[in-house]
Symmetry: C2
Subunit: 188 residues, 2 copies
């Protein structure tokens, strides 16, 4: 552990403007421990992964994604669950990030996974599916605590702003734990 | 069982022009039982799933995908495994297909899953991840036989044409079993 500034990259798994998961990331920005910065990225510009395209070099949005992953000390992924698994949009971005050039940008990268859903499961299955992916990429996903947000419609307003005080405190504790995890296993 | 014509929709999980999985589907077209037709679709035109976009109606490529799924008696998915899971491109298409309008187009639809990879696992994990998705959509995935193709570089030529006689016979048997499954549990 030390006091160096730590850069967190927040990745939203949903493209919806009022996304609960984007809302979680925005709320996180105000709940960070000292000396931690949060950059947030959405994935709407990432093209569908195609090895033929990749062979000619990464498209600009992919290059930008990889650059921001490389610069980050830790990834904070906030994602809904679609059909008991990872949103295709998020998986597609990981597929790009895992490929050369710069294939190494996920390797040994600390990662936190959280998720909000309007239903009652709170993205349980989606989070487990995502953990499986990060086994292959050799990323360092924090095991505990987990942050699952069921019934998100009651915890965010119509613009995706977090309005639930109990969740805000759980999120604050989650972020503190993720920073501790990053200082333990990461390069900072 | 009956003798009605059966329409199979082949869906390729990879966008690469020389894709082994697209090659599997093309080979399948020549190995079908009598009175079975195979239409093949690739997913390069499907936009990233965005609930805000969906709220304004399905984009044309999504409408086309859903129409072809509805018209099919059975889906035959041939997909690589990316990062121990489903390619984001394929999952994104399923995310669209599972959403309203026409949310029901995957429900009780017979499905066959197969996959080829250049490595030794032959898409084992990717296929299991895909089965998990089809639990939510209530699709009827054939359990056995499974078709996994490891070391695909030895079984296809540079243009993705199947050149392995043993695999051709396994594929023929797989297709016969899938047709039998469709006649057993499907609407035909």
């Amino acid at each position: 552990m030390n006091d160096a500034t730590l850069n967190m990259l927040g990745i939203a798994g949903s493209l919806r403007a009022g996304s609960y998961n984007l809302g979680l990331l925005r709320a996180a920005a105000g709940l960070l421990p000292p000396a931690v910065g949060l950059d947030i990225i959405t994935l709407g510009d990432i093209p569908p992964y195609d090895a033929d395209v990749q062979g000619q070099g990464d498209p600009a949005p992919v290059e930008d994604l990889k650059r921001r992953i490389i610069m980050a000390d830790v990834l904070l992924i906030a994602t809904p669950e679609y059909n008991y698994s990872i949103p295709g949009v998020l998986k597609n971005a990981i597929d790009w990030a895992s490929r050369p050039p710069k294939t190494c940008c996920l390797r040994r990268k600390p990662v936190g996974i959280m998720g909000a859903s309007s239903g009652e499961s709170g993205t349980i299955r989606g989070q487990l599916a995502l953990r499986q992916v990060f086994v292959f990429t050799d990323s360092l996903v924090m095991a505990q605590p987990e942050l699952r947000v069921p019934n998100a419609g009651q915890k965010f307003d119509g613009q995706g702003v977090l309005i639930d005080e109990e969740l805000r405190e759980r999120l604050r504790a989650y972020l503190a734990a993720l920073v501790e995890w990053t200082r333990l296993v990461g390069s900072i």
